[in-house]
């Protein structure tokens, strides 16, 4: 298996007619990295993948694999392996024949082909199914055959186009762990396209979050979660509370900043680095950083008053929707046997941990 090559996407842009699908995309994917392309449908992530595979041609920019410029190379010569969303297993061939296809195209001797097919099937745990037809396999098995087919030819880069979206929920979880394990074993640079942020967060080393043809942020899952670059990222990754308002120096000097939320009223926050003293801004904080209590207790927190409008029981925690002022805030309380429960309509105090608050420029 290749030790992993780096993939460089330089200033790639593509428009279909008047629709700009990709606008000036720049990406560097490290060798052996499990890299995610995340975004809502229509953001251009699949198109980008197809450009790397060679099925779409960028109007500007270049694609380099391992330093080599492959922009003009036809798909069959690129040696990048792609697993399609529909798996695209050929119904008129058996599992073994499907897997053997790429090897036969490379004119390998038959014994070699047989060996590699067996290896690949072994790797995905389907050695016993070599003689079956795709129609006789379950969804998960088909996905693994598609995978086996691709890795059998030892591609330089592995492209996965929403490989798990056709599986049911439990299988999805199981398969993504298998994928990660496989990739670790092979060490091949992998691009994983998905619209499901949980999938991306749990599997990828780094993620590029895209929206409307533009990369919104590139970073590790924690980066995206904790330090969203803009509002879109903040709202896409996990659940978040957003308040818009104005910053002002706190009355009475000191290290405080007064944040006047348009909806929730004044909040005083400690001055943290990078927070300008004044101007319009938005603050964002995650539901798990908010405490729901009868009355304000912890002085280190910033407290708001509100009314419980909805209560959702999610097993590990209870999600409270609280209306504070005119703002609808979400607070997650870990649930364990015997914890205090607030019903709908209850008057509560919300304690925000200032260390968990992020400032977003408007």
């Amino acid at each position: 298996m290749h030790a992993g090559v780096k993939v460089q996407i330089e200033h790639v842009a593509l428009a279909f007619g008047s629709t700009k699908v990709l606008r000036d995309i720049d990406l560097l994917i490290e060798p052996g990295e499990f890299f995610g392309l995340l975004g809502p449908s229509g953001c251009g992530k699949s198109t980008l993948l197809r450009i790397i595979a060679g099925f779409n041609r960028a109007q500007t920019g270049r694609v380099r694999i391992g330093g080599e410029d492959i922009t003009a190379v036809p798909p069959w010569n690129r040696n990048v392996g792609m697993v399609f969303q529909s798996y695209a297993l050929w119904p008129h061939m058996s599992v073994a024949e499907n897997v053997a296809f790429g090897l036969e195209e490379r004119r390998l001797p038959r014994s070699e082909v047989r060996r590699k097919v067996a290896e690949a099937l072994e790797l995905v745990g389907l050695a016993a199914f070599a003689g079956r037809r795709p129609g006789q396999l379950s969804g998960g098995q088909q996905q693994r055959v598609a995978l086996a087919r691709t890795i059998a030819v030892e591609p330089r880069v592995l492209l996965l186009d929403e490989p798990l979206s056709n599986l049911d929920a439990r299988l999805r979880v199981h398969m993504r762990r298998e994928l990660v394990a496989l990739q670790r074993k092979l060490g091949v640079t992998t691009l994983f396209v998905t619209h499901d942020q949980e999938e991306a967060m749990t599997t990828c080393a780094r993620i590029a979050l895209m929206d409307q043809g533009v990369i919104q942020q590139v970073g590790t899952p924690v980066d995206l979660f904790d330090r969203p670059a803009n509002r879109f990222v903040a709202e896409f990754v996990g659940t978040i509370n957003l308040l818009h308002g104005r910053l002002e120096r706190a009355a009475g000097g000191g290290d405080g900043v007064a944040f006047l939320s348009e909806s929730a009223g004044p909040l005083s926050l400690p001055l943290a680095e990078g927070i300008p003293g004044q101007g319009e801004a938005s603050i964002a904080f995650r539901p798990h950083g908010v405490l729901v209590a009868e009355r304000a207790s912890d002085a280190a927190r910033v407290w708001l008053s509100g009314t419980v409008t909805e209560r959702e029981f999610l097993g590990e925690f209870v999600r409270y929707h609280v209306r504070a002022g005119t703002a609808d805030l979400i607070a997650d309380q870990p649930h364990y046997f015997g914890v205090r429960d607030f019903p709908r309509g209850a008057q509560v105090r919300l304690g925000i941990d200032p260390g968990q608050v992020r400032l977003l420029q408007r």
């Binding site: 798909p75 069959w76 040696n79 399609f84 695209a88 296809f101 030819v153």
Partner: protein, 562 residues
């Protein structure tokens, strides 16, 4: 796709275009040209003026229109109830219906026509019985009515098959949501079911119209000559290849057919309901009451008998020595088969050769055009599609005359035989006019092959050509075979072009042989015998391919990803 188009694609497209222009457009243009020119080559509309002056021509025009429209009507009367029965109700007669769909098409229409004459004609079996029992006769075979009767029984499968598929493809949710909102019975049919099935009906009906409007064989055999196609043939063959009125008729045949085809395409555009299949399809099936079952079966049996009557008639004729003014032949013999035996092997060979090659050419070109249209962005590729499809509107008689004119004097390379006096002319003529059938099959087959199946092959290292060979074509095989069979069968029973293009008996295909034998005063028995052989051959071939396709589709379904 990788690039807009490659030189290989452009080359293929140009080659196909050249073939179609040389063997479809050019001959037809030579025919049309004569209609508009004087002896000295100057342009004139004088021939058209003359045409309009001749009352026989006006009458023929009106008759052709009348017959075509009436045939569509009668076909609808036969086909619509049957289609509805089989789709709406839990009906075990489905197999019967499928045979109904195929039987008429495997018998050459003109062979059936002469048998029908013996069964339903003025002194035919039915009328003899009727006049003996009830002292009435039914002039169903007289004049235009005879043509309508015979053509309806021959062509109704076009409407039946198209309509059945359209009805079967209706999303159950459409019907159920209408029912949910309170519609049922006739209202439901009128407001939801029939409009959704309309495209299928129109597709079938327009095809029937064009084919009947252009048909030469049936009117000729039934001795009805005041229609356009027989007039064109007669004028050109009798007065000589120089009679301009004959060419004016040809132009009208072509023009009208194209207009009918264009009209139906316009109507169908934007009404492709059937392709959006989400959930289960097919109308909800209902149970039939015993009365209703009896009625349905009775109707189908009646239609089946009518449909089988030409076949029965031909069979009886082939076994008869003398059949004259009697309900059934009196003297039976196998001599007719003996008579045609020696001749038939040569003619069967010719038919297999010409029709087989023509069908082969058709599926190759059909696959190529389907691929170019559906898988590439070659500019102008739609023109190929239209060009190939317009061949459907070219009457055989026009193409035959066109070939004789356009290729007069051209010889086969390396030999000293004229092209028009060789077997190759049949292959060309048949392939060009059957191409639309093959093209449709190939298009349908290719659109079933998801593009990702091809892309994944390319991704694994197969060039476009190799992925076509290893993946696309094998997956299209079912449709390709269906297209091959349709091309073959329709070419084997066609007579319009064949009559004009056959010069030497040794090169004659079966259809011409049958026609020739039927002109024997010693009896039409041998002709009928040859007709039976042709029908059996064609029928067996269709059946065999149907079984193979059915088995293959089952196997492929098992192999399809869930």
């Amino acid at each position: 796709m990788n690039s807009r188009f490659s030189t290989a694609q452009a080359a293929v497209a140009l080659a196909i275009a050249a073939f179609l222009v040389a063997f479809l457009v050019y001959p037809v243009l030579t025919v049309v040209y004569v209609a508009f020119t004087n002896a000295d080559g100057t342009l004139t509309f004088g021939h058209f003026a003359s045409f309009m002056q001749i009352s026989l021509m006006r009458e023929s025009f009106a008759n052709s229109l009348y017959v075509a429209l009436m045939t569509v009507l009668v076909c609808s009367l036969i086909a619509v109830p049957i289609a509805y029965f089989t789709v709406r109700f839990d009906f075990r007669g489905a197999v019967l219906v499928q045979t109904l769909g195929v039987l008429p098409l495997i018998m050459p229409a003109f062979v059936g026509a002469s048998a029908m004459q013996l069964l339903f004609g003025r002194s035919g079996s039915v009328n003899l019985l009727l006049s003996a029992w009830f002292d009435v006769t039914v002039p169903i075979m007289d004049g235009l009515n005879g043509v309508i009767f015979v053509e309806s029984l021959h062509y109704f499968p076009f409407i039946l098959m198209n309509l059945t598929v359209a009805l079967a493809n209706i999303d159950t949710a459409m019907e159920e949501s209408a029912q949910n909102l309170g519609a049922s019975g006739l209202r439901l049919f009128r407001r939801v079911v029939f409009p959704l099935a309309m495209p299928g009906y129109v597709a079938g009906a327009s095809l029937v119209f064009i084919k009947v409007f252009d048909d030469l064989g049936t009117p000729l055999v039934l001795n009805v000559t005041n229609m356009l196609a027989p007039q064109a043939y007669l004028r050109v063959t009798s007065i000589g290849i120089e009679d301009p009125i004959g060419y004016v008729i040809c132009f009208l045949l072509v023009g009208f057919s194209i207009v009918a085809m264009w009209g139906s395409t316009l109507f169908l555009r934007g009404r492709e309901y059937a392709t959006l299949q989400r959930g289960a399809t097919g109308l909800a099936r209902r149970r039939l009451s015993p009365w209703q079952t009896a009625f349905a079966y009775a109707w189908i049996v009646v239609v089946l008998l009518l449909v089988l009557s030409p076949h029965i008639g031909v069979l009886l004729l082939s076994l008869s020595k003398v059949w004259s003014f009697s309900v059934v032949p009196e003297i039976y013999t196998l001599d007719n088969y003996a008579t045609v035996f020696t001749d038939s092997s040569r003619m069967i060979g010719n038919t297999l050769l010409y029709c087989g090659l023509a069908a082969l050419v058709d599926v190759v070109i059909g696959t190529a055009i389907a691929y170019l249209v559906l898988r590439t962005r070659l500019p102008g590729r739609q023109i190929l599609d239209h060009l190939a499809t317009v061949a459907l509107a070219m009457p055989g008689v026009v193409l035959g005359i066109g070939y004789l004119r356009a290729f007069r004097g051209i010889e086969l390379p390396f030999t000293d035989t004229a092209l028009t006096a060789s077997g190759l002319i049949f292959v060309l003529a048949y392939s060009v006019r059957r191409l639309p059938y093959a093209l449709r099959s190939c298009m349908a087959a290719l659109s079933q092959v998801h593009v990702s199946l091809e892309e994944s092959a390319q991704n694994l290292g197969a060039t476009r050509a190799r992925s076509i060979r290893r993946i696309v074509v094998p997956l299209m095989a079912g449709g390709i075979l269906a297209g091959f069979v349709t091309s073959f069968v329709t070419a084997a029973v066609e007579i319009s072009e064949t009559i004009l293009l056959t010069s030497r008996e040794s090169l004659a295909p079966m259809s011409y042989g049958i026609y020739l034998y039927m002109q024997s005063i010693a009896g039409r028995g041998p002709g009928a015998a040859l007709g039976v052989i042709a029908v059996v051959m064609v029928g067996l071939g269709s059946y065999a391919s149907h079984r193979y396709l059915h088995g293959r589709s089952i196997a492929l379904e098992a192999g399809r990803p869930g």
